[in-house]
Amino acid sequence: MPVPTIDHTLDEILNLAASHFKVPREKLTPDDDFFKTLGIDSLQALDLLTRLEHHFRIELPDYELQGVSDFRTLANRIQARL
């Protein structure tokens, strides 16, 4: 199966986040701070990480997310595991 493009990965992340945390998709942009935009804490961020791992069928160690708070960087980290 071909590796999806980074834009496609980013789009899927935004769709998943909007759907799960019940935020209108059009309000999310790639450079948003997802903690602020989604209104989530660290436990909910772990929940998001688990959902993304299941969705993309990857394992993403959480130390790779240290300091990551925007969707674009998150998409880059995920893309590196696809």
Binding site: F35, S42, L43
Partner: protein, 267 residues
Amino acid sequence: MKEFKGQTLSWQIVNGAVELALHRNPCNEIGSLTLDELEKFAAALPGLANDSHALIIHSTLAAGFSAGADLRELFQRGRAMEKQAALRGVRDFLERIHAVMNTIDGIPLTTIAAVHGVTFGGGFELALVCDIIIADRMARFCFPELRLGLIPGFGGIPRLKRDLGNAVVRDLLLTGRSFNVTKAQQIGLVSQIAAEGEALRVARATANQVAKFDRKTAAAAKEFVKTIPYDELKREIDIFCDLYARPAVEEGLRKFVENETAQPYLP
């Protein structure tokens, strides 16, 4: 005591299985009060075992099974007391929780941890005393203690070594990373994965299956395949206390307790 409703946990017998429910907000942090009630449970367990065939441990809180030791209490204990007194208090706490864990580990019932969400540190260690771990699809496991300058102190390393290959144990311990149920099942930690919100139901179905077998045979089979690593457990307490005495640990705990960023759970 056949039934108990405490501030941090409750138990009752449901369809022949003891169900221990954890319910201390925000995520079943294990501090002095939880330990007191766990000791009550451990004291009652041999009597409960006479009227049941299985034990299920689960959490009623949405956040998860348990975030582990109450680090705020551990930090406050260190600040409020003279150093040696604080250290004696920590050793006493560890010896008491080990006694509880060892009782659950060796009880001649089939024991099942039904976990979901955050299953970290001491919470992970509580799950590890059970014979079977059934995990919700959204469960996440972690030993984060090294970021505080400590090792797991509730028996986690000896029990993880008992159940898994040492290379996997080193990865989980030395990186302090969290991992999901897919990984947990791959490495042999989780035996069954349940859909979101279904771990307790699956655990009850498993307990019903267990009930079909002769109790004495099941207990003999358990005793044969599951030894308790007493010597390593004692050594773990010694290492934990040696590490706890260092100033770096107080600093690590202070950083965690005072951290107001959104990411304190990320290593």
